[in-house]
């Protein structure tokens, strides 16, 4: 299993990278951490003629708190976010999700933005970004555009990114101080891709009712799935057991009909989705402020 032939360039400036992406628009891929992309090359499931390695773009190496969100540049590795005392304090849900990614050897190389761009429906960060209603920044030599998570993930390993564009930044919206949050997944072996996972954020009103709920799933369809039907059940309640039962039932209907494979039947995925919904909401609600 060796990668097919390609031409390679590792520029040091973003402008240079964007120019290179423009040269052979239809047959160029961006290489960041490579923890998903290099396996695809090794197995010859991908074979671009040109690869632009962005690891030297130090101008994209930042974790910046902004008004409304945490901005992370395209060369920030997952391990760096996991270890960052700042992110641990200001965006603990992001750290919680990152810890579930692969193994430490993978997180040492893998990037936050790369995982979003790869858009694996079983990956953690696309589901988290969907849960938080976050957005990505795409750049090309013709300019920049900001894309909402729900418009970005268009299908299995597919995104709204156009040829010639690359992701330079991702925005993870802040979580309100009184909100509770949780991330959970079920995998057959530690570090494997999860069968199903869920990220949830629930916000209470001053009299203890749920005023807003966000929940999104990985592993239940070709893209991450936002659980609007589940959220609607929760609004105005105190997430009592009966409410969680209804929410879990609503969640099980979100699983796409084609999600049966050698790892889990669709019936099993529905059961997992329901149970994870119950647990992730319970855990999130317990973490809420008063």
């Amino acid at each position: 299993m060796k990668p097919p032939r390609f031409q390679f360039c590792a520029p040091h400036m973003l402008d240079e990278a964007l120019t290179l992406l423009d040269q052979h628009v239809e047959d160029t891929k961006v290489l960041a951490g490579g923890q998903s992309f290099v396996p695809l090359l090794n197995m010859r499931l991908a074979g671009p003629a040109y690869i632009v390695d962005i690891n030297h773009l130090s101008e994209l190496h930042y974790i910046e708190p902004e008004d409304g969100y945490l901005a992370i540049g395209a060369t920030v590795r997952q391990r760096q976010v996991e270890r960052s005392a700042f992110v641990q304090e200001k965006h603990p849900l992001l750290v919680e999700a990152v810890k579930h990614i692969g193994h430490m050897q993978i997180r040492n190389r893998g990037t936050i933005v790369g995982s979003i761009a790869h858009a694996d429906p079983a990956a953690e960060l696309p589901a988290l970004l969907t849960c938080l209603n976050g957005e990505v920044v795409a750049q090309s030599s013709h300019g920049e555009r900001i894309i909402k998570a729900e418009e970005f993930f268009t299908g299995y390993l597919s995104t709204a990114l156009e040829p010639g564009e690359m992701l330079t930044e991702v925005h993870f919206p802040w979580i309100a101080p009184q909100a509770g949050w949780a991330f959970m997944e079920f995998a057959r072996r530690s570090g494997d891709y999860a069968l199903v996972g869920a990220a949830a954020v629930v916000t209470p009103t001053s009299d203890g009712h749920c005023s807003s709920a966000h929940i999104a799933y990985l592993g239940i369809a070709g893209s991450p799935v936002r659980g609007h039907a589940v959220e609607n059940v929760l609004i105005g309640t105190e997430l009592e057991d009966a409410v969680l039962d209804t929410a879990a039932e609503a969640a099980s209907t979100l699983v796409s009909d084609d999600m049966s494979d050698v790892h889990a039947t669709i019936e099993y995925r529905r059961v997992l989705t329901a149970e994870l919904t119950r647990r992730v909401l319970q855990a999130a609600w317990q973490r809420r402020g008063h």
Binding site: M1, K2, P3, P4, R5, F6, Q7, F8, C9, A10, P11, H12, E16, L20, Q23, G34, Q35, V38, P39, N42, M43, Y50, I51, D53, N55, R79, G102, H103, M104, Q105, I106, N108, R109, R189, S190, G191
Partner: protein, 175 residues
């Protein structure tokens, strides 16, 4: 005098690289598609780094890249240009003394066929550097990225605990 302009980067199929491996600096011309794992084994003849799955799952090819444990099958040799790599061959002392982690694996029988061992030793080295006194649970969690099909991990965990204890002792003596 006019400053010399930086060269515009261009796509290539080969590249000159300089990598420091186990303290030796190597300068080589490599095809850009050459995996770091193959560069170590074929070009440098450092065959202690094993190749199992070649897609990042088994952990056999784990090496240290600037001190961090990484899969050498998931990056290209050209990406290691200017970096410092440590492989299993760099663990023992110059007079063939085993590294305390290797010694502990020998004493506790932390291996059977030994195929996964180089990757495990490198992962354990990185783990103990960050967390010198890991619990059994932490050891098992950190080892989840290295697949061993012989031992059942019991003796590996014992070996890691012994190595951690000796490395802490060594550290106290230095201080």
């Amino acid at each position: 005098m006019q400053e010399q302009e930086e060269e515009t980067p261009v796509f290539t199929e080969e590249s000159d690289i300089a990598v420091t491996v186990n303290g030796h600096r190597y300068e080589k011309r490599v095809p850009v598609r050459l995996l770091l794992s193959d560069f170590l084994r074929h070009d440098l003849h450092l065959t202690g780094t094993h190749i199992g799955c070649e897609h990042g799952v088994c952990g056999c090819c784990t090496v240290l890249l600037n001190g961090e444990a990484v899969r050498s099958c998931l990056m290209f040799a050209v990406q290691a240009d200017g970096m410092v790599v440590t492989t299993i061959e760099g663990m023992a002392g110059t007079n063939s003394d085993l590294h305390p982690i290797q010694q502990a694996f020998q004493e506790k029988h932390g291996l059977q066929c030994g195929f996964c061992t180089p990757g495990i030793i490198m992962s354990v080295h990185a783990m103990l550097h960050e967390n010198p006194n890991p619990s059994d649970e932490e050891i098992r969690h950190e080892l989840s990225g290295n697949i061993c099909r012989c031992t059942g991990y019991q003796n590996i965990v014992e070996a890691v605990k012994l190595a951690a204890e000796r490395l802490r002792q060594q550290q106290r003596e230095v201080q």
